[in-house]
Symmetry: C2
Subunit: 241 residues, 2 copies
Protein backbone atom coordinates (compact mmCIF):
# COMPACT_ATOMS: atom_id res chain seq x y z
CA UNK A 1 0.00 0.00 0.00
CA UNK A 2 1.26 3.46 -0.86
CA UNK A 3 -0.96 5.26 1.61
CA UNK A 4 0.74 7.41 4.26
CA UNK A 5 1.07 5.65 7.61
CA UNK A 6 0.35 6.83 11.13
CA UNK A 7 0.73 5.66 14.71
CA UNK A 8 -1.15 6.69 17.81
CA UNK A 9 0.31 7.18 21.25
CA UNK A 10 -2.25 7.26 24.08
CA UNK A 11 -0.67 8.71 27.22
CA UNK A 12 -2.19 8.11 30.65
CA UNK A 13 -2.14 5.90 33.74
CA UNK A 14 -5.95 5.90 33.81
CA UNK A 15 -6.18 3.88 30.59
CA UNK A 16 -3.70 1.23 31.75
CA UNK A 17 -5.24 0.88 35.21
CA UNK A 18 -8.61 0.13 33.59
CA UNK A 19 -10.31 3.11 35.21
CA UNK A 20 -10.96 4.79 31.87
CA UNK A 21 -11.80 3.17 28.56
CA UNK A 22 -9.97 4.88 25.72
CA UNK A 23 -12.21 5.96 22.86
CA UNK A 24 -9.84 8.27 21.01
CA UNK A 25 -7.98 5.44 19.27
CA UNK A 26 -11.16 4.09 17.70
CA UNK A 27 -12.19 7.58 16.58
CA UNK A 28 -8.76 8.28 15.10
CA UNK A 29 -8.73 4.90 13.30
CA UNK A 30 -12.01 5.65 11.56
CA UNK A 31 -11.09 9.23 10.64
CA UNK A 32 -7.66 8.26 9.27
CA UNK A 33 -9.11 5.41 7.22
CA UNK A 34 -11.63 7.80 5.66
CA UNK A 35 -8.78 10.23 4.88
CA UNK A 36 -6.62 7.54 3.22
CA UNK A 37 -4.01 7.35 5.98
CA UNK A 38 -3.30 3.88 7.34
CA UNK A 39 -3.12 3.59 11.13
CA UNK A 40 -0.32 1.05 11.46
CA UNK A 41 0.19 0.91 15.23
CA UNK A 42 -1.31 2.20 18.47
CA UNK A 43 0.43 2.31 21.81
CA UNK A 44 -0.70 3.14 25.31
CA UNK A 45 1.88 4.21 27.87
CA UNK A 46 1.86 5.54 31.42
CA UNK A 47 2.56 9.10 32.60
CA UNK A 48 6.32 8.54 32.74
CA UNK A 49 8.73 10.98 31.11
CA UNK A 50 11.32 8.48 29.82
CA UNK A 51 8.72 6.00 28.57
CA UNK A 52 6.89 8.66 26.57
CA UNK A 53 10.14 9.87 24.98
CA UNK A 54 11.19 6.34 23.97
CA UNK A 55 7.80 5.60 22.43
CA UNK A 56 7.73 8.95 20.58
CA UNK A 57 11.18 8.49 19.10
CA UNK A 58 10.43 4.94 18.00
CA UNK A 59 7.08 5.81 16.39
CA UNK A 60 8.01 9.11 14.72
CA UNK A 61 10.94 7.41 13.01
CA UNK A 62 8.85 4.54 11.65
CA UNK A 63 5.65 6.25 10.52
CA UNK A 64 4.66 9.33 8.50
CA UNK A 65 2.55 10.75 11.33
CA UNK A 66 2.20 10.26 15.07
CA UNK A 67 -0.90 11.40 16.95
CA UNK A 68 -0.77 11.63 20.73
CA UNK A 69 -3.69 12.01 23.12
CA UNK A 70 -3.61 13.05 26.74
CA UNK A 71 -1.29 14.77 29.17
CA UNK A 72 -1.53 18.41 28.05
CA UNK A 73 -3.62 19.81 30.93
CA UNK A 74 -2.57 21.98 33.87
CA UNK A 75 -1.78 19.33 36.53
CA UNK A 76 1.47 17.75 37.68
CA UNK A 77 0.76 14.55 35.71
CA UNK A 78 0.46 16.45 32.41
CA UNK A 79 3.94 15.92 31.02
CA UNK A 80 3.37 15.31 27.32
CA UNK A 81 4.58 18.68 26.00
CA UNK A 82 7.85 18.42 27.93
CA UNK A 83 8.36 14.84 26.73
CA UNK A 84 7.80 15.87 23.11
CA UNK A 85 10.31 18.72 23.47
CA UNK A 86 12.84 16.29 24.99
CA UNK A 87 12.24 13.72 22.24
CA UNK A 88 13.02 16.35 19.59
CA UNK A 89 15.81 17.92 21.66
CA UNK A 90 14.30 21.42 21.50
CA UNK A 91 13.67 23.95 24.30
CA UNK A 92 10.20 24.45 25.73
CA UNK A 93 8.75 27.47 27.50
CA UNK A 94 5.60 29.55 27.80
CA UNK A 95 4.98 30.96 24.35
CA UNK A 96 3.35 34.34 23.66
CA UNK A 97 0.78 33.11 21.11
CA UNK A 98 -0.40 30.26 23.33
CA UNK A 99 -0.50 32.57 26.36
CA UNK A 100 -2.62 35.05 24.43
CA UNK A 101 -5.17 32.33 23.66
CA UNK A 102 -5.42 31.41 27.35
CA UNK A 103 -5.61 35.05 28.46
CA UNK A 104 -8.53 35.72 26.12
CA UNK A 105 -10.32 32.54 27.25
CA UNK A 106 -9.95 33.17 30.98
CA UNK A 107 -10.89 36.82 30.59
CA UNK A 108 -14.06 35.68 28.80
CA UNK A 109 -14.92 33.11 31.46
CA UNK A 110 -13.96 35.25 34.44
CA UNK A 111 -11.53 32.67 35.80
CA UNK A 112 -7.99 33.32 36.94
CA UNK A 113 -5.08 32.46 34.64
CA UNK A 114 -2.97 31.06 37.47
CA UNK A 115 0.44 29.39 37.33
CA UNK A 116 -1.03 25.91 36.79
CA UNK A 117 -3.17 27.02 33.86
CA UNK A 118 -0.24 28.95 32.41
CA UNK A 119 1.61 25.63 32.11
CA UNK A 120 -0.75 24.88 29.22
CA UNK A 121 1.01 27.65 27.24
CA UNK A 122 4.28 25.70 27.37
CA UNK A 123 4.97 24.85 23.71
CA UNK A 124 8.16 23.32 22.27
CA UNK A 125 10.21 25.59 20.01
CA UNK A 126 9.25 25.29 16.36
CA UNK A 127 5.80 23.81 16.94
CA UNK A 128 2.66 25.19 15.32
CA UNK A 129 -0.48 25.44 17.44
CA UNK A 130 -3.64 23.37 17.03
CA UNK A 131 -6.86 25.20 17.83
CA UNK A 132 -8.92 24.08 20.86
CA UNK A 133 -12.46 25.45 20.38
CA UNK A 134 -13.66 23.89 23.66
CA UNK A 135 -11.30 25.14 26.35
CA UNK A 136 -8.68 27.25 24.49
CA UNK A 137 -5.53 25.41 25.68
CA UNK A 138 -3.95 24.52 22.33
CA UNK A 139 -2.48 21.30 20.98
CA UNK A 140 0.50 21.51 18.67
CA UNK A 141 2.30 19.90 15.75
CA UNK A 142 6.07 19.47 15.91
CA UNK A 143 7.65 17.73 12.93
CA UNK A 144 5.41 14.75 12.21
CA UNK A 145 4.00 14.58 15.75
CA UNK A 146 0.51 15.95 16.44
CA UNK A 147 -0.17 16.50 20.13
CA UNK A 148 -3.89 16.44 21.00
CA UNK A 149 -5.91 16.55 24.23
CA UNK A 150 -7.23 13.42 25.92
CA UNK A 151 -10.79 14.60 26.61
CA UNK A 152 -12.70 13.01 23.69
CA UNK A 153 -14.67 16.13 22.70
CA UNK A 154 -11.45 18.16 22.51
CA UNK A 155 -9.47 15.36 20.85
CA UNK A 156 -12.09 15.15 18.12
CA UNK A 157 -12.25 18.90 17.58
CA UNK A 158 -8.45 19.14 17.35
CA UNK A 159 -8.25 16.21 14.96
CA UNK A 160 -10.83 17.74 12.66
CA UNK A 161 -8.72 20.88 12.39
CA UNK A 162 -5.45 18.97 11.76
CA UNK A 163 -6.61 16.23 9.40
CA UNK A 164 -7.60 18.37 6.37
CA UNK A 165 -4.05 19.76 6.26
CA UNK A 166 -2.47 16.31 5.92
CA UNK A 167 -1.96 14.64 2.55
CA UNK A 168 -4.06 11.49 2.41
CA UNK A 169 -3.68 8.61 -0.02
CA UNK A 170 -6.34 6.87 -2.05
CA UNK A 171 -9.41 6.21 0.11
CA UNK A 172 -9.10 2.93 2.02
CA UNK A 173 -12.21 1.08 0.90
CA UNK A 174 -13.70 -1.99 2.53
CA UNK A 175 -16.63 -4.29 1.98
CA UNK A 176 -17.93 -6.84 4.44
CA UNK A 177 -20.20 -9.85 4.43
CA UNK A 178 -21.57 -11.85 7.35
CA UNK A 179 -21.96 -15.61 7.03
CA UNK A 180 -23.58 -18.00 9.48
CA UNK A 181 -20.70 -20.46 9.25
CA UNK A 182 -17.65 -21.02 11.37
CA UNK A 183 -14.33 -19.63 10.20
CA UNK A 184 -12.92 -23.14 9.88
CA UNK A 185 -15.44 -24.05 7.20
CA UNK A 186 -14.51 -21.23 4.82
CA UNK A 187 -10.86 -20.77 5.76
CA UNK A 188 -9.45 -22.95 2.96
CA UNK A 189 -11.15 -21.32 -0.05
CA UNK A 190 -10.89 -17.86 1.58
CA UNK A 191 -7.13 -18.26 1.89
CA UNK A 192 -6.89 -19.26 -1.79
CA UNK A 193 -8.94 -16.23 -2.81
CA UNK A 194 -6.75 -13.94 -0.70
CA UNK A 195 -3.63 -15.38 -2.36
CA UNK A 196 -5.05 -14.52 -5.80
CA UNK A 197 -5.69 -10.89 -4.81
CA UNK A 198 -2.40 -9.79 -3.19
CA UNK A 199 -3.33 -6.10 -3.57
CA UNK A 200 -6.31 -6.57 -1.24
CA UNK A 201 -6.48 -7.39 2.46
CA UNK A 202 -8.83 -10.20 3.54
CA UNK A 203 -9.88 -10.34 7.17
CA UNK A 204 -11.97 -13.00 8.84
CA UNK A 205 -13.63 -12.27 12.20
CA UNK A 206 -15.58 -14.89 14.12
CA UNK A 207 -18.59 -13.79 16.13
CA UNK A 208 -20.93 -15.30 18.68
CA UNK A 209 -24.46 -13.87 18.97
CA UNK A 210 -27.17 -15.41 21.11
CA UNK A 211 -25.32 -18.70 21.03
CA UNK A 212 -25.03 -18.74 17.21
CA UNK A 213 -21.60 -18.71 15.57
CA UNK A 214 -20.67 -16.94 12.38
CA UNK A 215 -17.94 -15.09 10.57
CA UNK A 216 -17.59 -11.60 9.19
CA UNK A 217 -15.36 -11.41 6.15
CA UNK A 218 -13.89 -8.00 5.36
CA UNK A 219 -12.04 -7.15 2.15
CA UNK A 220 -9.96 -3.96 2.07
CA UNK A 221 -8.11 -2.05 -0.63
CA UNK A 222 -7.86 1.17 -2.60
CA UNK A 223 -8.92 -0.16 -6.05
CA UNK A 224 -12.72 -0.13 -6.09
CA UNK A 225 -13.04 -2.23 -9.25
CA UNK A 226 -10.68 -4.89 -7.93
CA UNK A 227 -12.58 -4.92 -4.64
CA UNK A 228 -15.88 -5.44 -6.50
CA UNK A 229 -14.40 -8.31 -8.50
CA UNK A 230 -13.11 -10.02 -5.35
CA UNK A 231 -16.48 -9.63 -3.64
CA UNK A 232 -18.26 -11.29 -6.59
CA UNK A 233 -15.87 -14.23 -6.34
CA UNK A 234 -16.29 -14.33 -2.58
CA UNK A 235 -20.09 -14.45 -2.80
CA UNK A 236 -19.91 -17.26 -5.38
CA UNK A 237 -17.51 -19.16 -3.17
CA UNK A 238 -19.80 -18.77 -0.15
CA UNK A 239 -22.96 -19.83 -2.06
CA UNK A 240 -21.28 -22.89 -3.48
CA UNK A 241 -20.49 -24.31 -0.08
Amino acid sequence: MTNPTAAMLVIGDEILSGRTRDSNMHHLARELTAHGIRLAEARMVADEHAGIIDALNDLRGRFDHVFTSGGIGPTHDDITADAVAAAFGVPIDIRADARALLEAHYQRTGLELNAARLRMARIPNGASLIDNPVSAAPGFTLGNVHVLAGVPAIFQAMLSSVLPSLTGGDALLSQAVDVHRGEGEIAGPLGELAARYPALGFGSYPWIRDGAHGTQIVVRGTDGALLDAAMVELMTLLDKR
Copy 2:
Protein backbone atom coordinates in the same frame (compact mmCIF):
# COMPACT_ATOMS: atom_id res chain seq x y z
CA MET B 1 6.18 0.02 42.84
CA THR B 2 7.32 -3.55 43.32
CA ASN B 3 4.32 -5.13 41.63
CA PRO B 4 4.97 -7.40 38.64
CA THR B 5 4.51 -5.65 35.30
CA ALA B 6 2.69 -6.69 32.16
CA ALA B 7 2.16 -5.52 28.60
CA MET B 8 -0.62 -6.29 26.18
CA LEU B 9 -0.24 -6.89 22.46
CA VAL B 10 -3.50 -6.66 20.49
CA ILE B 11 -3.05 -8.22 17.04
CA GLY B 12 -5.41 -7.42 14.19
CA ASP B 13 -6.01 -5.17 11.18
CA GLU B 14 -9.65 -4.79 12.19
CA ILE B 15 -8.75 -2.80 15.31
CA LEU B 16 -6.46 -0.39 13.45
CA SER B 17 -8.88 0.17 10.59
CA GLY B 18 -11.54 1.23 13.08
CA ARG B 19 -13.93 -1.55 12.04
CA THR B 20 -13.77 -3.21 15.46
CA ARG B 21 -13.47 -1.55 18.85
CA ASP B 22 -11.08 -3.49 21.09
CA SER B 23 -12.51 -4.36 24.47
CA ASN B 24 -9.97 -6.94 25.63
CA MET B 25 -7.41 -4.36 26.73
CA HIS B 26 -9.85 -2.70 29.10
CA HIS B 27 -10.88 -6.07 30.54
CA LEU B 28 -7.25 -7.13 30.98
CA ALA B 29 -6.37 -3.81 32.63
CA ARG B 30 -9.08 -4.26 35.26
CA GLU B 31 -8.30 -7.92 35.93
CA LEU B 32 -4.55 -7.32 36.24
CA THR B 33 -5.06 -4.36 38.57
CA ALA B 34 -7.25 -6.52 40.81
CA HIS B 35 -4.55 -9.22 40.78
CA GLY B 36 -1.76 -6.81 41.73
CA ILE B 37 -0.04 -6.84 38.33
CA ARG B 38 0.61 -3.44 36.78
CA LEU B 39 -0.28 -3.12 33.10
CA ALA B 40 2.56 -0.87 31.94
CA GLU B 41 1.98 -0.74 28.18
CA ALA B 42 -0.50 -1.81 25.53
CA ARG B 43 0.20 -2.06 21.84
CA MET B 44 -1.96 -2.71 18.81
CA VAL B 45 -0.33 -3.99 15.63
CA ALA B 46 -1.50 -5.26 12.25
CA ASP B 47 -1.54 -8.86 10.98
CA GLU B 48 2.08 -8.68 9.76
CA HIS B 49 4.59 -11.38 10.68
CA ALA B 50 7.67 -9.17 11.14
CA GLY B 51 5.80 -6.47 13.02
CA ILE B 52 4.35 -8.95 15.51
CA ILE B 53 7.79 -10.51 16.13
CA ASP B 54 9.43 -7.13 16.75
CA ALA B 55 6.71 -6.07 19.18
CA LEU B 56 6.82 -9.41 21.02
CA ASN B 57 10.58 -9.33 21.45
CA ASP B 58 10.54 -5.74 22.66
CA LEU B 59 7.72 -6.30 25.17
CA ARG B 60 8.75 -9.70 26.56
CA GLY B 61 12.20 -8.32 27.33
CA ARG B 62 10.88 -5.28 29.18
CA PHE B 63 7.99 -6.66 31.22
CA ASP B 64 7.30 -9.64 33.48
CA HIS B 65 4.34 -10.81 31.40
CA VAL B 66 2.99 -10.24 27.90
CA PHE B 67 -0.63 -11.02 27.00
CA THR B 68 -1.60 -11.21 23.34
CA SER B 69 -5.10 -11.24 21.89
CA GLY B 70 -6.15 -12.24 18.39
CA GLY B 71 -4.81 -14.16 15.43
CA ILE B 72 -5.09 -17.77 16.65
CA GLY B 73 -8.04 -18.89 14.51
CA PRO B 74 -8.10 -21.13 11.40
CA THR B 75 -7.84 -18.52 8.61
CA HIS B 76 -4.89 -17.27 6.54
CA ASP B 77 -4.69 -14.05 8.57
CA ASP B 78 -4.24 -15.96 11.86
CA ILE B 79 -0.46 -15.80 12.19
CA THR B 80 0.11 -15.18 15.90
CA ALA B 81 1.30 -18.70 16.87
CA ASP B 82 3.88 -18.74 14.08
CA ALA B 83 5.07 -15.24 15.01
CA VAL B 84 5.47 -16.26 18.68
CA ALA B 85 7.48 -19.35 17.65
CA ALA B 86 9.69 -17.18 15.44
CA ALA B 87 10.16 -14.60 18.21
CA PHE B 88 11.40 -17.33 20.57
CA GLY B 89 13.31 -19.14 17.81
CA VAL B 90 11.56 -22.47 18.45
CA PRO B 91 9.90 -24.87 15.98
CA ILE B 92 6.13 -25.01 15.61
CA ASP B 93 3.93 -27.83 14.36
CA ILE B 94 0.63 -29.58 15.01
CA ARG B 95 0.87 -30.98 18.52
CA ALA B 96 -0.82 -34.16 19.68
CA ASP B 97 -2.41 -32.72 22.84
CA ALA B 98 -3.88 -29.73 21.02
CA ARG B 99 -5.05 -31.97 18.18
CA ALA B 100 -6.82 -34.26 20.66
CA LEU B 101 -8.74 -31.28 22.10
CA LEU B 102 -9.92 -30.28 18.63
CA GLU B 103 -10.81 -33.86 17.66
CA ALA B 104 -12.99 -34.26 20.74
CA HIS B 105 -14.69 -30.90 20.13
CA TYR B 106 -15.46 -31.50 16.45
CA GLN B 107 -16.64 -35.04 17.15
CA ARG B 108 -19.02 -33.60 19.75
CA THR B 109 -20.33 -30.90 17.40
CA GLY B 110 -20.47 -33.12 14.31
CA LEU B 111 -18.28 -30.77 12.28
CA GLU B 112 -15.29 -31.78 10.19
CA LEU B 113 -11.78 -31.27 11.56
CA ASN B 114 -10.44 -30.05 8.22
CA ALA B 115 -6.97 -28.75 7.35
CA ALA B 116 -7.86 -25.15 8.23
CA ARG B 117 -9.18 -26.10 11.67
CA LEU B 118 -6.18 -28.31 12.24
CA ARG B 119 -3.98 -25.19 11.97
CA MET B 120 -5.34 -24.26 15.41
CA ALA B 121 -3.37 -27.22 16.83
CA ARG B 122 -0.09 -25.60 15.74
CA ILE B 123 1.69 -24.90 19.04
CA PRO B 124 5.29 -23.72 19.49
CA ASN B 125 7.66 -26.23 21.10
CA GLY B 126 7.82 -25.90 24.86
CA ALA B 127 4.51 -24.07 25.26
CA SER B 128 1.84 -25.13 27.75
CA LEU B 129 -1.79 -25.01 26.61
CA ILE B 130 -4.48 -22.65 27.89
CA ASP B 131 -7.96 -24.11 28.06
CA ASN B 132 -10.66 -22.75 25.74
CA PRO B 133 -14.04 -23.76 27.22
CA VAL B 134 -15.96 -22.02 24.41
CA SER B 135 -14.60 -23.45 21.17
CA ALA B 136 -11.79 -25.86 22.22
CA ALA B 137 -8.94 -24.33 20.16
CA PRO B 138 -6.39 -23.67 22.91
CA GLY B 139 -4.29 -20.65 23.73
CA PHE B 140 -0.80 -21.19 25.10
CA THR B 141 1.90 -19.83 27.37
CA LEU B 142 5.50 -19.78 26.13
CA GLY B 143 8.04 -18.26 28.50
CA ASN B 144 6.41 -15.07 29.79
CA VAL B 145 4.07 -14.71 26.80
CA HIS B 146 0.41 -15.70 27.16
CA VAL B 147 -1.35 -16.12 23.82
CA LEU B 148 -5.13 -15.67 24.05
CA ALA B 149 -7.99 -15.53 21.54
CA GLY B 150 -9.41 -12.24 20.23
CA VAL B 151 -13.11 -13.03 20.61
CA PRO B 152 -13.94 -11.31 23.93
CA ALA B 153 -15.85 -14.24 25.48
CA ILE B 154 -12.94 -16.59 24.79
CA PHE B 155 -10.30 -14.03 25.78
CA GLN B 156 -11.99 -13.60 29.13
CA ALA B 157 -12.36 -17.33 29.74
CA MET B 158 -8.71 -17.95 28.90
CA LEU B 159 -7.55 -15.08 31.09
CA SER B 160 -9.51 -16.37 34.05
CA SER B 161 -7.73 -19.72 33.75
CA VAL B 162 -4.23 -18.15 33.40
CA LEU B 163 -4.40 -15.35 35.94
CA PRO B 164 -4.69 -17.41 39.16
CA SER B 165 -1.41 -19.17 38.28
CA LEU B 166 0.54 -15.89 38.10
CA THR B 167 2.16 -14.33 41.14
CA GLY B 168 0.53 -10.99 41.84
CA GLY B 169 1.87 -8.22 44.01
CA ASP B 170 0.11 -6.23 46.68
CA ALA B 171 -3.36 -5.23 45.48
CA LEU B 172 -3.27 -1.99 43.51
CA LEU B 173 -5.72 0.16 45.45
CA SER B 174 -7.31 3.37 44.27
CA GLN B 175 -9.71 5.96 45.61
CA ALA B 176 -11.39 8.67 43.58
CA VAL B 177 -13.24 11.91 44.20
CA ASP B 178 -15.18 14.07 41.74
CA VAL B 179 -15.08 17.85 42.11
CA HIS B 180 -17.07 20.43 40.20
CA ARG B 181 -14.03 22.56 39.57
CA GLY B 182 -11.67 22.85 36.65
CA GLU B 183 -8.31 21.13 36.82
CA GLY B 184 -6.52 24.46 36.67
CA GLU B 185 -8.05 25.58 39.94
CA ILE B 186 -6.79 22.65 41.99
CA ALA B 187 -3.62 21.83 40.06
CA GLY B 188 -1.24 23.79 42.31
CA PRO B 189 -2.19 22.30 45.69
CA LEU B 190 -2.75 18.87 44.13
CA GLY B 191 0.79 18.88 42.75
CA GLU B 192 2.16 19.80 46.17
CA LEU B 193 0.19 16.98 47.80
CA ALA B 194 1.45 14.51 45.18
CA ALA B 195 5.04 15.60 45.85
CA ARG B 196 4.59 14.86 49.57
CA TYR B 197 3.32 11.30 48.87
CA PRO B 198 5.87 9.92 46.39
CA ALA B 199 4.74 6.32 47.06
CA LEU B 200 1.27 7.13 45.69
CA GLY B 201 0.14 8.01 42.18
CA PHE B 202 -2.11 11.08 41.79
CA GLY B 203 -4.14 11.36 38.59
CA SER B 204 -6.35 14.26 37.56
CA TYR B 205 -8.95 13.75 34.83
CA PRO B 206 -11.09 16.59 33.51
CA TRP B 207 -14.65 15.82 32.45
CA ILE B 208 -17.45 17.63 30.67
CA ARG B 209 -21.05 16.57 31.41
CA ASP B 210 -24.08 18.41 30.11
CA GLY B 211 -21.94 21.50 29.61
CA ALA B 212 -20.58 21.45 33.19
CA HIS B 213 -16.85 21.05 33.78
CA GLY B 214 -15.25 19.12 36.60
CA THR B 215 -12.31 16.97 37.59
CA GLN B 216 -11.95 13.44 38.87
CA ILE B 217 -8.97 12.97 41.13
CA VAL B 218 -7.69 9.42 41.51
CA VAL B 219 -5.09 8.33 44.07
CA ARG B 220 -3.40 4.94 43.58
CA GLY B 221 -1.07 2.83 45.68
CA THR B 222 -0.60 -0.43 47.55
CA ASP B 223 -0.48 0.96 51.12
CA GLY B 224 -4.09 1.34 52.25
CA ALA B 225 -3.29 3.42 55.35
CA LEU B 226 -1.14 5.83 53.37
CA LEU B 227 -3.89 6.09 50.76
CA ASP B 228 -6.44 6.91 53.47
CA ALA B 229 -4.17 9.60 54.93
CA ALA B 230 -3.67 11.20 51.52
CA MET B 231 -7.42 11.18 50.86
CA VAL B 232 -8.08 12.98 54.16
CA GLU B 233 -5.59 15.66 53.20
CA LEU B 234 -7.05 15.85 49.72
CA MET B 235 -10.59 16.36 51.01
CA THR B 236 -9.40 19.09 53.37
CA LEU B 237 -7.56 20.77 50.55
CA LEU B 238 -10.64 20.67 48.32
CA ASP B 239 -12.99 22.02 51.01
CA LYS B 240 -10.70 24.89 51.85
CA ARG B 241 -10.77 26.27 48.33
